[in-house]
């Protein structure tokens, strides 16, 4: 995508805020907030309704513009891009997964996944090859020719994840992707997202389900448009990864 350094956050929000003008005066939906998401990270954002979660996701994906601060995708300041460039960056770089309405019903799973590449001018055969590879990564290659209506809810979300990460697309933005799924299926989708991030892709996830947020490397809480400050939090046992193998007496660890 670009020649930016590996240390460049794939997504950075610097002092980003969004204020909506209304007839009863300006209403602040978000911020200002700072956030840097590194390559390979899975970051979850939690917060009650109206805390600014979806606004943050829309700003991160350039679906909305901030009223203050800068949003950088792979080091590019979105405000400096012309709208055609912005659309191209978004299409090449960012994938979206929502609770539902993810897939076009008239296209097969493979065609759905290939679509962003085709829109971007990739030749049909190459686009389908890439799409098949993306479906393989979510272990759905065998269902490539099914239409969305013939897939379960969990399978549809896996297709949506494959499409979000097809070809060079490196950043997935997800708004309640497990919201419509039962516990076991939702967990399967989170395991898959985790595996994709462990393989180098990056995801920013909005959810109100703590058990799903817990698959993330970092869980951030939003309240009234700001991140809740965890600075006061006593860090328990150092790096949780170090103690993760321990299984001695869970009762005593309460």
């Amino acid at each position: 995508m670009s020649a930016t350094s590996v240390d460049t956050p794939i997504l950075a929000l610097e002092g980003v805020g969004r204020v909506h003008p209304t007839h009863s005066g300006p209403v602040r939906a978000l911020g200002p907030v700072d956030l840097a998401v590194r390559r390979g990270e899975l970051v979850a954002i939690m917060g009650p309704s109206g805390s600014g979660k979806s606004t943050l996701l829309a700003l991160a994906g350039a679906l909305d513009r901030p009223t203050e601060g800068r949003v950088l995708l792979d080091g590019h300041d979105l405000a400096t891009l012309a709208s055609a460039e912005l659309a191209r960056l978004r299409r090449r770089f960012v994938g979206y997964v929502f609770q539902d309405l993810n897939l076009l019903p008239g296209l097969t799973a493979l065609e759905n996944v290939a679509l962003p590449l085709e829109l971007d001018g990739v030749r049909l055969v190459a686009a389908r090859d890439e799409a098949r590879a993306a479906l393989e990564r979510v272990r759905l290659a065998h269902l490539a020719d099914r239409f969305p209506d013939d897939l379960s809810g969990g399978e549809q979300q896996r297709v949506a994840i494959a499409r979000a990460f097809v070809g060079p697309r490196a950043l997935l933005l997800a708004d309640e992707p497990t919201g419509a799924l039962d516990s076991v299926t939702g967990e399967m989708v989170m395991r898959l997202l985790r595996a994709q991030c462990d393989a180098g892709r990056t995801a920013l996830l909005v959810t109100h389900d703590a058990t799903h947020a817990a698959w993330a490397d970092r869980v951030l809480a939003l309240r009234d448009g700001r991140f809740v400050d965890h600075a006061a939090t006593p860090r328990g046992v150092g790096d949780p990864r170090a103690s993760a193998g321990a299984r001695s007496n869970p009762e005593a660890r309460r």
């Binding site: 009650p48 395991r191 985790r194 703590a210 058990t211 947020a213 817990a214 698959w215 993330a216 869980v219 809480a221 809740v228 400050d229 965890h230 006061a232 939090t233 006593p234 860090r235 328990g236 949780p240 990864r241 103690s243 993760a244 193998g245 299984r247 001695s248 007496n249 869970p250 009762e251």
Partner: protein, 171 residues
């Protein structure tokens, strides 16, 4: 945790001696709750006193082998098939702390700290789930699910407290 009923369940499978019961309990519950072998012998003595288990001779060298009695099977069936009801509820330090903190100036900060710690615990448990082998470690995975949902309940309760406090403060 009912050591008493756990031992009856193991003895119902086959007569065993004390150390095998300790090992069987720990293996059957994913090694989550280490059991002191002394506690096993004390419990066996009480089961014998109550007529629920009895010595079955020493088939295994010097170790005493135990077996379940008919009365023991009845008691075991009652435990397995009846619901477990906590009445009164077990004392819950978190609930007590939060309820007593409602009068404090900054209960929100107290909730935030607790929530962040619970979230870290949930992430830790989830990493252990990610690592567990769903075939070989099935029992362990079920136990992790139980622990995950307990922490989730705690987080949801803390969120509910925060929401109710905000609604009360705003009205």
């Amino acid at each position: 945790m009912s050591v008493r009923h756990s031992l009856l369940a193991l003895l119902d499978r086959e007569p065993s001696h004390g150390y095998a019961l300790k090992a069987g309990f720990e293996a059957g519950t994913a090694h989550a709750w280490p059991l002191n072998v002394g506690q096993v012998y004390t419990t066996l003595a009480r089961l014998e006193r109550d007529g629920l288990a009895e010595p079955a001779g020493s088939d295994d060298g010097p170790r005493q082998t135990w077996r379940i009695t008919d009365a023991g099977r009845v008691e075991l069936a009652r435990w397995f098939h009846g619901p477990l009801v906590e009445d009164p509820p077990a004392r819950d330090e978190l609930a007590i702390k939060v309820l007593l903190a409602i009068a404090a100036e900054d209960v929100t900060a107290i909730l935030d700290v607790q929530r962040a710690a619970a979230m870290e615990r949930l992430q830790d448990l989830t990493r252990q789930k990610a690592r567990a082998d769903p075939e070989r470690e099935f029992v362990w995975l079920l136990l992790l699910d139980a622990l995950v949902l307990k922490v989730e309940a705690e987080i949801r309760w803390l969120d509910l407290c925060a929401a109710r406090l905000a609604a009360r403060g705003g009205s």
